[in-house]
């Protein structure tokens, strides 16, 4: 293993934590990223990172964090990994603190915590409202330290194109393309980690960064890796609608006291400050007195949708409700959520400290992703350094971060993603090292690498020559509109069927695409044409998963198949309802598995072991 090298694709939190774990173990790592790693999408995270550190005297505990997470995800999450994550969380937050993250502090100088959605505890550590940026920088700095020591080689502005396989199907490396020189090369690796983030751009405008096309996950799926729970797509309740993207207004705005409301009177044209308190409808607080504005995201999103689309009470009769922080002193806002206040100010041109913000739900996060496995160890947490942890169905290929399917089930709780990304890296790195030691196979023959490189070289050349009438960016926009319209908050089988038909049309049009640019220097259009195909394939997985799942669960909401409202406040006291719940549960509490066969996603379902927590009705009223 003298010249053993590992590959990590992605320089967000999940990727960089994997790199750190590998380098710390003395391994050499090549890390690939479309943008300089410090500019990865993880910088966008605003609100914070969860850990039951219990410094507020509330009796919080990792077990309660486990319960909130599993319940929040309506029992579709992989339970051992969730347990491992929640128990590791306090240590992870301390580690980040030691790395120099400028977390907010209490008067005693301890880490401060705030309350996020779907929990009743102050469990979220935060650095202003730019927590993801601070966390990513901390990991970036540690990786730079290893870079200086010669353990880490960065390939920034390089795009991962696909795997290299040996005759047994084992992943023995990757093919990647330099986005500036357009050079294509094969890179041998003991194991490859995909930490390539989410697929938000499949939905066109979302809260995601522009490179989050899901291309790597799409490609891995086309090459045989199983994709799971694709239909579970989180639509965040509060974002600012925009031309190019939906800018997030973090949950931390509500955590710091922000209130959601609309005028009670339909078509009320008064300025918000002229509407007296008694004529404002705080619909979340009214319907969910216990959790108030901090109900889980799927619940808040549906309520806002309902108020605007069904009741016609949206502001000015359109999509939009108030998110109001004007009752909070500007000083407090600036100390805790200045980052998001500035985003609103800069992009809308109004001061949210003075005028209530206007927001609407926006596509935000994919709970689904590449199917990964875990080896349950003692305490029902993943066995440390077991090669199975974070492993995809392709031997030697790992996945971690938003691109994996495991931690969030049918709905992710706020501030749990940064945590799951870092935890996936912490267990994924050691798993890769164990795998390389245990796989005991001789190094793959050079011919595999040359063959794979050639396949890609030819494919890219082919794409470069495409001179049809279709503009790839326009196809992408149509894809986004299609998916946002039909595969987000409210889903019906009728529309989902039409979506799948339309996707076939878009794929057909892709075949008549124009590459727009034949240059051999920084040809971004060429790279995009290739990515677009992977996006279309992944969109198909998402839409088909949604079509086949005839129930409502977490972010996947189909009114035609929803359970009726229970007759009692606590549903467990309504035996009739509990019967219906049980039937639904037995039929659908399963992981959706999509594998690529004959140009189609083949969908099957897998039971979810529940050794940590028995499922129960999910209820927040």
């Amino acid at each position: 293993m003298a010249d053993a090298r590992f590959t990590v694709v992605g320089g967000g939190l999940a990727g960089l934590m994997t790199v750190i774990k590998l380098a710390e173990a003395g391994q050499k790592v090549d890390v690939f990223s479309i943008v300089p790693v410090k500019r990865s999408h993880s910088v966008c995270a605003q609100g914070g990172i969860n850990g039951a550190v219990n410094t507020k005297g509330e009796g919080d505990h990792p077990d309660i964090h486990v319960k909130d997470t599993l319940r929040g995800g309506d029992f579709l999450a992989e339970q051992t990994s969730v347990k491992g994550m929640c128990y590791a969380a306090p240590g992870i937050i301390y580690l980040l603190d030691r790395m120099g993250v400028t977390f907010n502090r209490t008067p005693e100088g301890l880490l401060d915590f705030r309350r996020f959605g779907g929990t009743l505890y102050n469990r979220t550590a935060f650095a202003g409202a730019t927590t993801g940026q601070q966390l990513l920088y901390a990991l970036d700095e540690q990786v730079r330290r290893y870079e200086v020591q010669g353990l880490v080689q960065k390939y920034e502005y390089w795009e991962w194109l696909g795997t290299v396989r040996d005759e047994g199907g084992r992943c023995v490396g990757s093919v990647a393309m330099d986005l500036n020189t357009m050079e294509i090369r094969a890179f041998p690796a003991e194991a490859v980690m995909l930490a390539t983030g989410g697929p938000g751009i499949i939905f066109g405008r979302s809260t995601n960064s522009v490179i989050n096309t899901g291309t790597a996950a799409g490609r891995a799926y086309l090459e045989g890796a199983t994709y799971a729970n694709g239909e579970f797509v989180q639509v965040h309740p509060t974002s600012i609608p925009g031309e190019d993207k939906l800018r997030l207004m973090s949950e931390s705005v509500r955590a710091e006291g922000g209130r959601v409301w609309v005028p009670k009177k339909k078509g009320d044209t008064r300025a918000p400050k002229d509407i007296p308190e008694s004529e404002r409808w705080h619909f979340l607080e009214e319907k969910y007195p216990k959790y108030g504005n901090l109900v889980p995201r799927d619940v808040a999103t549906r309520e806002i949708f309902h108020v605007c689309r069904d009741l016609g009470l949206g502001l000015g009769g359109k999509d939009g409700v108030y998110l109001d922080v004007t009752h909070i002193p500007a000083k407090v806002l600036d100390a805790k959520i200045k980052g998001v206040m500035e985003i609103y100010e800069k992009f809308v041109g109004e001061d949210p400290r003075v005028t209530p913000m206007v927001i609407f739900p926006g596509m935000h996060y994919s709970m689904g992703g590449l199917y990964v496995q875990f080896q349950p160890g003692k305490n029902l947490e993943p066995e440390p350094a077991h090669p199975k942890n974070q492993a995809t169905t392709v031997p030697g290929l790992y996945a971690g971060g938003e691109v994996d399917h495991a931690y969030h089930g049918a709905n992710r709780l706020g501030a749990n993603s940064l945590l799951s990304c870092i935890y996936a890296g912490m267990i994924g790195g050691p798993a890769m090292v164990s795998y390389s030691k245990s796989s005991g196979q001789k190094a793959a023959a050079p011919k595999h690498f040359e063959a794979a490189r050639k396949v890609w070289q030819e494919r890219i050349e082919q794409l470069r020559k495409m001179e049809g009438p279709e503009n790839p960016y326009r196809i992408a926009r149509e894809l986004g509109e299609l998916m946002t319209e039909n595969v987000t908050v409210v889903r019906t089988n009728d529309k989902l069927r039409k979506t799948i038909e339309k996707l076939a049309e878009l794929k057909d049009r892709w075949k008549r695409v124009n590459a727009l640019d034949s240059s051999n220097n920084a040809n971004r259009s060429l790279s995009f044409v290739n990515q677009l195909w992977n996006m279309l394939e992944l969109a198909h997985v998402i839409a088909k998963g949604a079509l086949l799942r005839d129930e409502s669960r977490g972010a996947h909401y189909k009114p035609d198949f929803s359970l009726p409202e229970p007759k009692t406040n606590d549903p467990r006291e309504d035996p009739e309802w509990m019967k219906l719940w049980q039937i639904r549960h037995e039929k659908w509490a399963k992981t959706t598995l999509a594998s690529y066969k004959e140009g189609e996603p083949q969908i099957s379902y897998e039971d979810i072991p529940t050794p940590v927590l028995q499922p129960e009705p999910r209820w927040y009223a």
Partner: protein, 267 residues
């Protein structure tokens, strides 16, 4: 907010620098992009991708530029807009005079069109040891306590997104020269303020004394005026200058001490 949008504006006029490589001649291309309320420079560049046709109706290639977050936090999209360096994603067209002129940064090697190579900034972070030497990633409990006041100062410094506005505006930074610029100097201050970072503060100061270090700053203060994150760069530079001077004195004293004593004799 300016409201020049009134009066039925239908198009936004752009003049964009096009240059395939440094071996090619550069030129401006003009575009008329359909106006949309709230549009920013990037959303217009995206519109050009969907319809890569110049104002004269000539087909062209989509413009090459860098961007990612579109909310001014990743630091990717720095360009010169109407002659001033700024972030393209947060530059709303309603606030810009037309034609909107886009040019690449001048202090960095050109990649293509509006994209440049800013790796010198990441190299500078290595030069100043911009990290903490943690013992390992195993659980060692919390780090040292920190006051709310210190946190507030360090937080602002740590929002630097390596965007390069400060380098582009700095008269001392030139294409190909070694001056690290304000961003790295300010990062050195951040880590030297950190309670555990203090333990190897001298490593960072030594980095600041090397070629291209803080001594090259001419104190023109352009940097602080263009920083989109309003980082107090001149305060950082002054602080680091003081620390570097102190270190120099300490070095002179410790080096000269024995010989100085000998020279003075038992006296």
């Amino acid at each position: 907010m300016e409201t020049r949008t009134a009066g039925g504006r239908t198009h936004v006029h752009f003049k964009i620098w096009r240059q395939e490589t440094t071996d090619h001649e550069g030129r401006f291309e003009e575009f008329k992009v359909p106006y949309a309320k709230g549009a920013n420079v990037i959303s217009c560049l995206m519109e050009i991708q969907r319809n890569p046709v110049t104002a004269e109706g000539k087909r062209t290639t989509p413009v090459v530029w860098d961007s990612n977050c579109l909310e001014e936090v990743c630091g990717s999209c720095t360009v010169n807009i109407n002659g001033r360096v700024r972030m393209a994603c947060s530059s709303l067209v309603d606030h810009l005079a037309e034609p909107i002129v886009l040019e690449p940064l001048q202090k960095f090697p050109l990649v293509r069109d509006l994209a440049v190579d800013r790796s010198r900034m990441f190299d500078a972070l290595k030069q100043v040891t911009a990290w903490l030497n943690i013992d390992g990633t195993h659980d060692l409990g919390p780090g040292p306590r920190q006051s709310q006041g210190d946190q507030a100062v360090m937080y602002v410094l740590s929002t630097c997104m390596t965007c390069a506005c400060c380098l582009e505006a700095c008269p001392q930074v030139q294409l190909g020269n070694a001056f690290m610029g304000a961003a790295a100097i300010s990062q050195a201050r951040l880590f030297n303020m950190n309670p555990s970072g203090k333990m190897n503060a001298d490593d960072r100061l030594s980095g600041l004394m090397e070629r291209g270090g803080v001594q090259d700053c001419g104190k023109a203060q352009n940097c602080v005026e263009v920083c989109p994150k309003e980082i107090p760069l001149t305060t950082s530079i002054a602080a680091m200058n003081r620390e570097v001077t102190k270190l120099l004195f300490r070095r002179i004293l410790s080096l000269d001490l024995p010989s100085a004593r000998a020279a003075a004799g038992p006296g």
